[in-house]
């Protein structure tokens, strides 16, 4: 699968998930079953660089979400 196509799979996959805006790296493995974990990791980190996705972290664990979607900065989950 081409990078652009894989990026589309990820964005569409995330948009489909209702009620949740932040995802673990592992959630993306399932969207790209033919890719190795490390390749998926490179792909999503790259999508953050390109500002398609953004990181969110508790401090000890890091999650990913669509840039600007869901819980931002100081909000709690479910708030705008």
């Amino acid at each position: 699968m081409e990078t652009a196509e894989a990026q589309k799979v990820i964005i569409e996959g995330l948009e489909k998930k209702k009620g949740k805006s932040k995802f673990y790296l592992k959630d993306f493995y399932a969207m790209l079953p033919d890719w190795k974990p490390r390749e998926v990791n490179k792909l999503v980190n790259n999508m953050v660089q390109q500002e398609m996705l953004e990181y969110w972290s508790s401090g000890s664990t890091t999650l990913y979400g669509i840039k600007g979607a869901g819980k931002q900065g100081a909000a709690e989950e479910g708030e705008e």
């Binding site: 673990y24 592992k26 490390r38 980190n45 990181y55 664990t61 900065g73 709690e76």
Partner: protein
């Protein structure tokens, strides 16, 4: 003080140095501003941290939210975002983000460097620091969002300093001062720490794993950075050959001419040094003997615990054939209980470019990235799947040193390729010896 803090004040009455007193001192110094610092975040940030902590004690609930920003542009780590949920009452700490700064190897500083870091943090942050927390980093506590990029720019451009790891990243690798000062060092901890820090920059600055991952480097089993208790991969110096004994110096310890423990623990009169009681009798494997004239060590039985060397450093020295033992899976008790590291590699040489070590690291990462659950540390994965699965993933043969205790499970499960002829037997051959 801006806020009344009777509950915090009470903490200051204890016998220990108090963080409350420290923060009060910084609050006063900021208010006075004798040096004319051009503060970039509210001057009363330290007052407000005390205020919000006091309120927490009154309400018995936290006034912090958890999580958010993770880095500056291009980085997915090094910044831990924290926001106060009473920003009107405590505007100084409306944001209170922590920055992790990658500490220099062996934690050597010049006063000039420390002054620069502290000046930067007074100007653009709270002024409160926490040197070498459980991670090893320099922790800069408390700044506001618009300052993050500015601080990063000054750190990298003016101080030659990078951020460290946080979140699901490789955490800032941390080492003991090793060969730079310590005669016990069995390998160059700073060289290996520096090499791996550079090799794995991408993993340090961007998340890659199910959870955090820590490397720590101890030059010898004294474990001054406690790698065995808190690193997912602990690199502990060791030796293969014999402990070197200087019999004359042993006699000098026995005769009281040299102080045991290099003079440490001398605050009380413990009486004359007793080699039998204090060294031979405390050797955990009972492999030492003293006949009144000569000290002998049955080296194959020695576990390299360092005790005898620590007590008589002028008489006993580590061996000459030195390298590293690698242990895996130590962790603090967040999800599951605390765990110490398990021995994976009894001995590996520690010569640059460390190719064998890097191959091992990457095999472990591949396994953990594939099989680890969200927020599962390597040690928990090993426990869940069994040590044998890790051996398969790292392509290592089991050896006796890996065995911690006798097996309690009597079953042995063979794989087909481990059994001669596989699992299908030749029934004709079988019937030659066994009737129907």
């Amino acid at each position: 003080m801006k806020h009344k803090t009777p509950l915090l004040d009470q903490l200051e009455s204890g016998p220990w140095p108090s963080f409350v007193s420290d923060i009060k001192r910084e609050a006063e110094s900021r208010t006075k501003n004798a040096k004319g610092v051009d503060y970039q975040i509210p001057v009363d940030v330290c007052d407000d941290i005390l205020g919000v902590l006091e309120l927490t004690y009154v309400h018995k609930r936290t006034h912090w939210k958890h999580g958010g920003i993770v880095g500056v542009f291009g980085y997915g780590g090094g910044v831990i975002g924290r926001y106060c949920d009473q920003p009107e009452m405590f505007p100084g700490v409306a944001h209170f983000h922590t920055m992790r700064v990658n500490q220099p190897g062996g934690k050597y500083y010049s006063t000039e460097y420390l002054e620069k870091i502290c000046d930067l943090w007074e100007r653009r942050g709270s002024g409160i620091t926490n040197m070498h927390g459980s991670t090893g980093d320099i922790i800069l506590l408390g700044t506001h969002t618009p300052q993050l990029e500015e601080i990063f720019y000054e750190l990298t451009h003016d101080i030659g300093q990078d951020l460290g790891g946080s979140g699901s990243n490789l955490r800032t690798p941390s080492d003991c001062l090793g060969k730079s000062r310590c005669e016990y060092a069995c390998y160059d901890t700073q060289a290996l720490c520096f090499d791996l820090t550079n090799e794995y920059q991408d993993y340090l600055h961007r998340p890659a794993f199910p959870y955090k991952f820590k490397f720590k480097f101890d030059g010898c089993p004294n474990c001054c950075v406690a790698s065995i208790a808190r690193a997912d991969m602990s690199f502990i110096g060791t030796w293969k050959d014999d402990i070197r004994i200087d019999q004359k110096a042993v006699a000098a310890y026995v005769g009281g001419e040299i102080k045991p423990n290099a003079g440490a623990h001398s605050g009380r009169d413990w009486g004359a040094f007793d080699i039998q009681k204090e060294v031979i009798g405390l050797c955990p494997t009972g492999c030492m003997a003293w006949d009144g004239k000569k000290l002998t060590i049955d080296n194959p039985e020695c576990t390299r615990c360092m005790h005898c060397i620590n007590v008589m450093p002028r008489a006993l020295k580590i061996g000459k054939e030195t390298g590293i033992s690698i242990l895996v899976g130590a962790k603090a008790p967040i999800l599951d209980g605390a765990q110490m590291g398990s021995l994976l590699i009894p001995f590996i040489s520690a010569e640059p470019p460390y190719t064998e070590i890097k191959e091992l690291i990457e095999k472990i990462w591949d396994y953990w990235m594939e099989e680890g659950k969200n927020r599962e540390r390597l040690g928990e994965l090993i426990k869940r799947k069994g040590f044998q699965k890790l051996l398969e993933a790292t392509e290592l043969e089991p050896v006796a040193q890996m065995v911690k205790e006798p097996r309690t499970n009597p079953y042995i499960f063979w794989k087909e390729d481990e059994v001669e002829g596989g699992f299908t037997r030749d029934i004709q051959e079988y019937r030659k010896y066994h009737l129907r």
